[in-house]
């Protein structure tokens, strides 16, 4: 993408009026790494939003509030009980990119290899946007599919993301398969489970990379819910349900292997989540 001009915004309101003013040719830039991947016939006017104080992570009660301008590296370094996004950040490209890429950029423009949307889909929570109208949207709604996602974000500025902490009895698993540490993902999976008295009371599973936009695997979640929290149950999961997705094998993989790999990665993510929730899963 080509940039023909740039302006700086130092407040949310300023950015919002600039978006309105410049219209379709405006392009928000926080880290700027997405400009390598977005193709556009017309050159754009960059609105640099880096000066807007929407950076940093705070915890209030059980909720983490993550400023959209928080870099992946800050997410990696943040330490608090119940904080799990550092695991996602650790697998994000490389140090230079972690230093400049923001979580806002990663979830506002979703590419197939985007890491955080997959994780956020299972962590749930909300996103706060400003723009034509200020709104708080549930992640489950905003990421329902790519069309909805585009609509939600269009003409808006993402201010922050709120996610609940992972408490005792809960677990989060995140797996990303790539040839090298900084390579594009060949399959990404994330899982969240809640275990009460040895029974899975809640479960969320999402996949990415092999699809243009990450999806929640609701039927697998239903299958998990109410079952005993043991690693063995993963073997019994009905993965045929994945057949309804037209998977896009990445990085030179065949469709057969892509499907197989996805099953393994989903199983691993659920397994890790269960392990965290109750210290199970030993294979």
């Amino acid at each position: 993408m080509k940039i023909k001009d740039f302006v700086f915004a130092s407040r949310v309101s300023e950015a919002c009026s600039l978006i309105r003013e410049i219209g379709d040719s405006s392009y928000l830039i926080a880290g700027g790494t997405s400009t390598f991947f977005v193709s556009s016939k017309n050159s754009k006017v960059a609105i640099d939003i880096n000066r807007i104080p929407i950076k940093g992570i705070s915890k209030n009660n059980d909720i983490f509030k993550i400023g959209a301008g928080t870099t992946i590296n800050d997410i990696l370094k943040y330490k608090a009980s119940g904080w799990v996004l550092d695991r996602v950040a650790l697998r994000h490209v490389n140090q230079q990119v972690r230093n400049i890429s923001t979580i806002g950029g990663n979830i506002a423009r979703v590419f197939y290899w985007s890491d955080f949307p997959v994780a956020l889909r299972v962590l749930e929570g909300t996103i706060k946007l400003s723009g034509i109208s200020s709104k708080t949207v549930k992640i489950s709604e905003a990421f329902h599919n790519s069309t909805v996602h585009k609509d939600v974000f269009k003409g808006s500025l993402l201010e922050y993301i709120e996610i609940p902490e992972i408490k005792k009895g809960m677990g989060f698993g995140y797996t990303k398969e790539s040839r090298t540490s900084e390579a594009f993902s060949a399959a990404t999976a994330a899982a969240f489970v809640k275990v009460d008295d040895g029974i899975i009371s809640d479960a969320r599973v999402a996949i990415g990379a092999v699809l243009p936009f990450p999806v929640r695997l609701f039927d697998i979640e239903e299958e998990l819910k109410g079952t005993k929290a043991e690693s063995l149950i993963i073997r019994d999961l009905n993965f045929d349900r994945l057949n309804k997705y037209s998977l896009l094998p990445r990085e030179g993989m065949s469709m057969d292997y892509c499907k197989h790999l996805l099953r393994v990665k989903i199983s691993d993510a659920i397994c890790d989540a269960l392990k965290e929730a109750m210290g199970g899963c030993n294979d």
Partner: protein, 781 residues
Amino acid sequence: MSTTNKQLSNKMSKMKVVNKSVNKIDALALSQGKHLFTGDLTPANALYIKMLWSPHAHARIKSIDISTAGKMAGVKCILYYGNVPRIAHCTAGQGYPEPSPYDTFMFDKKVRFVGDRVAAVAAETSEQAEDALKSIHVEYEILEPVFAYDEALREGAPVIHDEDDAFVPIPIPYEPKKNIVAKVGMNAGDFEKGMRESDYTFDQVFETSYAQHCSMEGYISWAQLDPYGRIIITTSTQVPFHTRRIVARTLGIPVQKIRVIKPRIGGGFGGKQEMMLEDVVAMAAMKTGRPVLWALTRAEVFRSGRTRHPMRIRIRYGLKKNGDISAVGLDVINNTGAYGGHGLTVMSCAGSKTLPLYHVENIHFDAKSIYTNLPVCGAYRGFGATQAYFAMESMIDIMSEKIGMDPLKFRKRNHISSGESHPAFEALGEGKPGAPMTIGSCELDECIDRGAREIGWDGRTPHTAKTGRYRRGIGMSIHMQGSSIPEIDMGAASIKMNEDGSFNLLMGATDLGTGSDTVLAQIAAEELATTVDKFIVYSSDTDMTPFDTGAYASSTTYLSGEAVRKTASKVKEQIIKVGAAMLNKKVEELDVFDAHVVALDGSCKVSYGDIANYALYENNQFQIAAIDSHITHKSPPPFAAHFVEIEVDMETGKIRVLKYVAAVDCGTAINPQLAEGQTEGAVLNGISYALTEEYRFDRTGKMSNASLASYNIYSMRDKPEIKAIIVPSYEETGPFGAKSVSEISINGAMPAIANALYNATGVRIYKAPFTQERVWQALHL
């Protein structure tokens, strides 16, 4: 300690500079980011070149219209087949005349791979040049492309080089109408008989794929005319002298008109053993009178640069129950891509650098190099041996298992040793017979023993003992390479003394980041009994330094190093003579020590500074200086034993390398730290070549993952623990006992990992790279 080792340690203990890890002389300036590379030295008023590349794998250009582009803003010149000389040449920088077809033209009416040259624009800015490319209108007649070995060789296959002006400059088999670039072969003993008389026979096909060097500095060159109209080319090359010759031929101008300067080079690994961009920048500079720069983008480097030859190797063995190898047969096809510069030499080395490693009397070797409409292959560290060792060292493990022998013992029992020869040395050269050779130094057993200890070979358990999702395995492989090309390569150096006792050391030898400037200065310093910091080293510049064939074939330390040592020895003689006059002594009564000429009886001495002053200013004045050259009659192999421990995820097929040990006998390591560095770098390159690096092509023959982000080389985070062990030996024919070290250690990872995979899982893999999908298929299908 063995007798050889005792003699060795005596020789070593006398050395003051050699065999010491002195700091690399350019390391400080490099670490400070000083302006040392081709792109840092470009004049501000340089024009920029952008190339229109062929989007088709195989097509004829029916028409090309440059009129609109030529009038666009900033455009100064457009080059295409219609306005440059049509002179057949070979871009590969090897001996001369090359054992290669002259099948390349600066621009041609035919394009032969996606990424072939169509037209070049030189403009004031790279954006203007890029814009102009879009306005060049080309009409193609699309021809059927050829991508696979069998397609290329099939009767009636499309002919890739159907032009009638391609030819070979020396009499070697060249059959372009059959897409055959070259053939080599040899036979010794009676292969069929050897197979018949063996207890077990083995027959297996192995395949390797495209790969690229991925030097951090890509291809880049610039040229300008000097005030006298000569063309000065500054370029990132491993072969400045070959480049001068090839550019002269391609442009149809005398060698005298061209000066090639090689500044610091950001890595080569074989990729820059070639004239790549220099003809175009020179031509554009001549046409415009302006400095002209051309730097390829990373995607262009991948698609249009040089690559490692993919090979299909059928390997047959006959084995006796007692562990004797009774016959070996190696049938190699290499795909050299659209142009054949290194086709013959690479496949020749697939035999000559591997077959001699083991005792076997009955040998069959047959190799064919073919054209396809895929990217051009060239030289790459390991040079054919890397591919062949995958097959050979996998088979050694397979054979050992067949007779129930520890593969380590099997190797020790059968490998070549000091004092032995092999018919392949004489039979296989580069377009002509090679040179007969008896192995001098060989500490391969020591390499095997020390490597085995480091990896914990004794604790290795068979695959049958392993269970669970993650399984560990240990594998090994051994190898040899060469040191220079005997009777072909030549290196030369000159040394001149300055009045403070410092020396100018000028060499054709081409430091491409290996540290050869430092290593060769150490050799000169040792011979002259002074220190490395007394040398002003300059390499290489075709106007200023003596000739050298270039940095390839593991030749610089062994060959150019001896040229430097000989030159230093001549200078030493002159210094002693002047010292004798000053001290009033006979030459026989004197020696050099600590930058002085000293009397052997300790009675008197005079410093180098005083000697140089005396020679330059005082009496019978003359310049203390010398020049000398060196060729070799043998190519003494370095030897190596590699060991690897891996962990395999049985569910995904992913291989993780846990530890890698490379024990190397490179003769005297002139600079042990740099020798380790060469080894570690080659090892990691070998590991990712075996596991993750891959050229993927779409249906049109276009590389679809032409970026560093998806080609998958390793970062520090991916690297396993790598332990390099330098095992000393002394090669009598090398400078201070040195052989080579740069290439050999890229050969080990592929077979060692394949053997470790078997040890972990009981499954063999015959096709590289061992992507997790391929491993998973081998495990489960």
